[in-house]
């Protein structure tokens, strides 16, 4: 959790000028430390274990009525969690495959004329509520797994696209010039210099995509796609606090765990020297 402190670096729009407002969703984090204190490695797993264990003990100490038992059983909770993970994983994979190459393409010199337009759309796109966007996709297609995935992808593409573009833009121009001077081809410069240097920002983008998707997937239940939102909404409509709290704790723990894993992976994979 301590690594959240670096959020300021990656939060776009901190420059004070009118600039681009920051990404919606989770704070992007430009990780650069490979080591880090024990707290940054073990703080989150311990916190999650305490919260999950505490909730488990609390719920199992209650005498659940039949309505609560219908939702709060191992089978239902497992099914909802798997549905949720399925939505998150598929949508994030598509976003990564779609948005990062597109961002790289748009950062090439030949794409310069269209960049302001793309960034402009990305900024307006921020104002589009994800709930409305998914509903529109569903209305245009039908209820189902893939329409929901399209909706999730639509919600998270623009932030990741912009993250990649901004990341590549921040690469030191002198480093690029030096590599060209060393006789590297533009492709070599991209692969060996620009992408590794932009790596932290891109990892932060993937992490943001995961957080946006894991959060938006909670709306899946309103579109007939289950997920952990189902548990929460059941808790609300049936007016059963234990059900609601269990859903909230599970989905929050999942989001925090995914965020933690993505952050840890980013730190392990970061190119040395950064």
């Amino acid at each position: 959790m301590a690594d959240t402190a670096l959020a300021t670096q990656a939060l776009p729009g901190t420059g004070g000028t009118a600039g681009t407002p920051g990404t919606a969703g989770a704070p992007g984090r430009a990780e650069s430390r490979r080591g880090g204190s024990p707290l940054s490695w073990f703080g989150m797993p311990v916190l999650l274990a305490v919260i999950l264990g505490g909730t488990y003990l609390w719920v199992s100490s209650l005498e659940l009525d039949t309505i609560e038992q219908r939702t709060l059983n191992v089978e239902q909770l497992t099914r909802s969690t798997i549905e949720h993970l399925h939505l998150t994983a598929v949508s994030t994979a598509i976003v990564i495959v779609l948005a990062i190459p597109l961002g790289v393409l748009l950062s090439r010199p030949f794409a310069r004329p269209v960049v302001p337009a793309v960034l402009g759309i990305a900024n307006i796109g921020q104002g589009v509520p994800s709930f409305g966007l998914i509903t529109i996709v569903i209305l245009w297609t039908s209820l189902g797994f893939w329409p929901m995935i399209i909706g999730l992808v639509a919600c998270s593409t623009l932030p990741i696209l912009r993250n990649t573009m901004v990341g590549l833009e921040q690469v030191d121009r002198t480093a690029v010039k030096a590599s060209r001077g060393m006789g590297m081809s533009p492709l070599q410069v991209l692969l060996k210099v620009e992408l590794p240097l932009a790596f932290p920002v891109m990892i932060a983008g993937i992490r943001t995509a995961l957080i946006i998707n894991v959060g938006t997937a909670a709306l899946g239940t309103f579109f007939g796609q289950g997920g952990l939102g189902f548990i929460i909404y059941n808790g609300i409509t049936l007016n059963r606090t234990p059900v609601l709290v269990t859903g909230v704790v599970l989905v929050s723990a999942l989001a925090l765990l995914i965020d933690y894993l993505a952050g840890a992976l980013g730190r392990l994979l970061a190119p040395r020297g950064l």
């Binding site: 004070g16 704070p27 409305g132 209305l139 709306l219 609601l244 925090l256 965020d259």
Partner: protein, 214 residues
Amino acid sequence: MTFAEYLTRNYDNLLELGLEHLNLVLISMGIALAVGLPLGIVAHRNGFLRNPILAGAGFFLTLPSLALFSIFIPVLGIGAPPAIAALSLYALLPIVSNTVTGLASVSPAVVKASQGMGMTGFQRLLRVELPLAWPVILTGIRVSTQVVIGIAAIAALVGGPGLGTEIFRGLRSQGNASAPNLVYGGTLGVIVLALLLDAAFVLIRRLTTSRGIR
């Protein structure tokens, strides 16, 4: 019914929902500011507390919005209060982190000069550091506002007010000929509100930035 017809017929309804939405956003932002600004100042002045404060604010932004909206329902009941609580927490991080960044970007020479003039710590904060950091802080507030406007649409799913209710109504009457109009109306309303508030920030920026750094 075409979308244009829907708009002319439901104009006042959309306006009312838009005002509800705006109200939700403004109250949440007010609370987030009242909490976030002091937290940011504390985080800037106290190096020991900086990381825990920023981590805490970032923590809330990681939580799925539906979860954060719902968790306050057992305590605050259904309606606007749980939505306001959730939105205030969502708005915290950009405000806190930009306050820290803004204050840190104030030149140490200027701070030293104000100390030399005999200003107390509080005077220095109020008359030197905050005015100089204000453009950065305001950007944080603007980012927060944009985030909150979009997320506020989800309030409707858990019984809250705002433009989300129109989208939800459309979703529930799916298959009905008027359903798309409701969804478009609600979504468009949110976008228009976001653009309007963004424009308002340009004005606020001009009016509230110290003359010396404008």
